[in-house]
């Protein structure tokens, strides 16, 4: 009987030690911030029209952040995806502009904590931006594409407010283009000449603060509920760029609503899920 009790104790201890090892191993969680954004839009595209167009837009934004490695907790990787659509009118409401946009970027940020409770992240993000604008009633210049790639400065300030029942996280994220290149045709060049005759002269431009400036900011608050964390906020975007004597502007004011959740990714042979995780993929 003593032998049985002794062996049982050894077995339970072994299981506990194993479990403790699993617990002690650190896994990186990715934080996903998904939002639906409703915006007022104000575009000026002098290739299509000298007049400013204004209207409404809706977009989906996904922002995923994760630490570089369990050992490097002061550097995080970021990937962003934004898909947008909008409908804008000229000041006299006699013509409309349809807008579709997509932006994808990957970046890296450095973390530091200047004061207790306040977290700051600063870094860079490289992105690719695509926009399609159409004024249907135009002949030979009904469409203009926004095509650009940029290295952006990014920053994030995050502060936790502890209330009686829950903790709120308020965040201010900003992004500003620094250097890159962009597609801007001459005001008189038709897409027939550019794409069908292949005359790309003077359409690709180096961009930096001398000809492209802007700021994209979001002020948001994460509110945890019982089983989910919701995110509410306001956003602003102001972008102005020039090439070929044309000045383009894009201004947006937004309301956003979304969710925030953490997830872990396990795949491959060396990154298998711990045994206390169960999956349909086993």
């Amino acid at each position: 009987m003593k032998k049985i009790i002794f062996l049982s104790c050894i077995f339970i201890l072994a299981i506990n030690i194993s479990a403790q090892n699993e617990d002690e191993k650190k896994y990186i969680l990715s934080t996903n911030k998904s939002s639906i954004i409703f915006s007022t839009l104000n575009f000026t595209d002098p290739y299509l029209s000298p007049l400013p167009y204004s209207g409404l837009g809706v977009s989906y934004n996904s922002d995923i952040n994760s630490l570089l490695s369990p050992e490097r907790t002061n550097i995080s990787m970021q990937s962003k995806l934004n898909m947008a659509t909008g409908l804008l009118l000229n000041p006299a409401s006699t013509a409309s502009m349809i807008y579709f946009g997509m932006n994808y970027g990957r970046g890296i940020q450095y973390y530091f904590q200047p004061v207790n409770g306040l977290q700051l992240w600063a870094g860079g993000l490289w992105d690719i931006d695509f926009g399609y604008k159409e004024i249907e009633r135009n002949v030979n210049n009904p469409i203009n594409f926004d095509l650009s790639t940029n290295l952006n400065l990014t920053g994030l300030a995050s502060y936790d407010i502890h209330l009686q029942k829950r903790s709120l996280k308020i965040q201010l994220a900003v992004q500003s283009p620094l250097i890159g290149c962009m597609f801007v045709p001459n005001g008189g060049a038709s897409y027939y000449e550019i794409f069908e005759l292949g005359n790309m002269t003077n359409t690709i431009h180096f961009s930096s603060l001398h000809n492209k400036r802007g700021i994209n900011g979001t002020f948001s608050m994460n509110v945890p509920f019982r089983y989910s964390t919701w995110r509410f906020g306001i956003g602003f975007k102001s972008l102005k760029y020039t090439a070929n004597d044309l000045v383009f502007k894009r201004n947006e004011l937004s309301l956003l609503i979304g969710t925030t959740f953490d997830f872990a990714k396990f795949s491959g042979m060396k990154n298998k899920a711990p045994k206390n995780f169960i999956s349909t993929n086993e």
Binding site: N90, S190, E193, I215, D245, V247
Partner: protein, 335 residues
């Protein structure tokens, strides 16, 4: 460090206002007049070529514009100003009217009658239709005749394959583009490609690169490729008149370089400037020639292209149901 942060913030937040933006005109008659005048001044491509003193036109019309003018009167006045450009591609469009300049064909003999081409001597009643082409065998089935009334009509290689199969035993082919006011340049190139044996430079295009009246880009070649699927190797006559305009003018220009083609009829109407659109503060839209297109010798074709054989429609022939221009083309093709 603080200094650099300040400079960076200054650059991001304040410098956008340093980019020179054109001033927006107010939505008044005077503001709309100024906006229209400026669009033409900066973007219209034929001011120097047509020897138009746009500054003096500003002076003349500025004196007639006032903010108290009625919309219709103001619109008509702007139409008169745009008529000074003598350009069929220039239109001012509002919700109630569209200005137009039609003297490029109205001041000339029509040289076309749809009644004639649909009589039994030519298309008759039992002609075939494919992709906007109306076609039949004429002159005792010895000549193929195709009437194409608009380059806005889409067509495919399959359409043309059937047409050329049907007409393959004919000695020659007539492509009639009289009274064809234009449409798509792509269609013009596609139709011309059936008559080329190899890719050929058939013209050039330029565009405005500045606000000066002669600030143009370096000319870029416009090539007409040879269709890889279908080629008409026999003689072809292209019939044109003053109403052969815009994309049709472009088609005639391309066919001038086709190896077995001859252009018969009247001078084309021209319209070689690729039109663009812009708009005024009141929402009216303005269409204007923006990119000049040239022939293979870098000569302007804005005022039209001369045919190889000039033929006018005779009223005596017309009275007998005979189209003088088609008859002349038949004669040339049978030689």
């Amino acid at each position: 460090m603080k200094k650099y942060i300040f400079i960076l913030l200054f650059s991001v937040v304040w410098l956008p206002s340093c980019m020179n933006e054109p001033t927006m005109q107010p939505n008044t008659n005077i503001g709309n007049f100024e906006a229209l005048w400026q669009i033409i001044d900066r973007q219209y491509c034929y001011l120097d070529y047509k020897h138009i003193n746009w500054d003096s036109i500003h002076t003349v019309y500025q004196n007639e514009v006032s903010n108290s003018m009625e919309k219709f009167d103001f619109f008509d006045l702007m139409g008169d100003m745009l008529d000074e450009l003598k350009d069929g591609h220039v239109n001012l469009s509002s919700g109630f009217d569209r200005t137009r300049y039609w003297h490029w064909y109205m001041d000339y003999a029509p040289n076309f009658s749809s009644e004639l081409i649909y009589n039994d001597r030519y298309l008759g009643e039992n002609y075939r239709i494919a992709g906007g082409f109306r076609y039949a065998k004429i002159a005792n089935d010895s000549i193929g005749y195709i009437y194409f009334g608009s380059f806005s009509n889409e067509f495919s290689d399959t359409n043309m394959w059937y047409i050329m199969s049907y007409l393959k035993d004919c000695k020659g082919l007539i492509i009639d583009v009289r009274d064809n006011g234009g449409g798509s340049l792509d269609n013009s190139e596609q139709l011309a490609s059936y008559f080329f044996k190899e890719e050929t430079v058939t013209g050039y295009i330029r565009h405005k690169i500045g606000s000066g009246h002669s600030d143009f880009s370096v000319p870029v070649e416009i090539k007409t490729s040879a269709s890889k699927k279908i080629q008409w190797q026999k003689k072809v006559a292209v019939l044109c008149n003053r109403m052969s305009y815009s994309a049709t003018n472009d088609f005639v220009n391309r066919m001038k370089q086709a190896p077995n083609a001859i252009i018969v009829g009247d001078k084309t109407g021209g319209g070689s400037g690729l039109p663009f659109s812009s708009e005024l503060p009141n929402g009216w839209t303005i269409r204007f020639s923006a990119s000049p297109m040239f022939n293979a010798n870098m000569q302007q074709t804005e005022w039209g292209i001369d045919p190889d054989v000039i033929v006018d429609l005779k009223s005596t022939d017309q009275a007998k149901g005979i189209d003088t221009i088609i008859e002349q083309a038949i004669k040339i093709l049978k030689e």
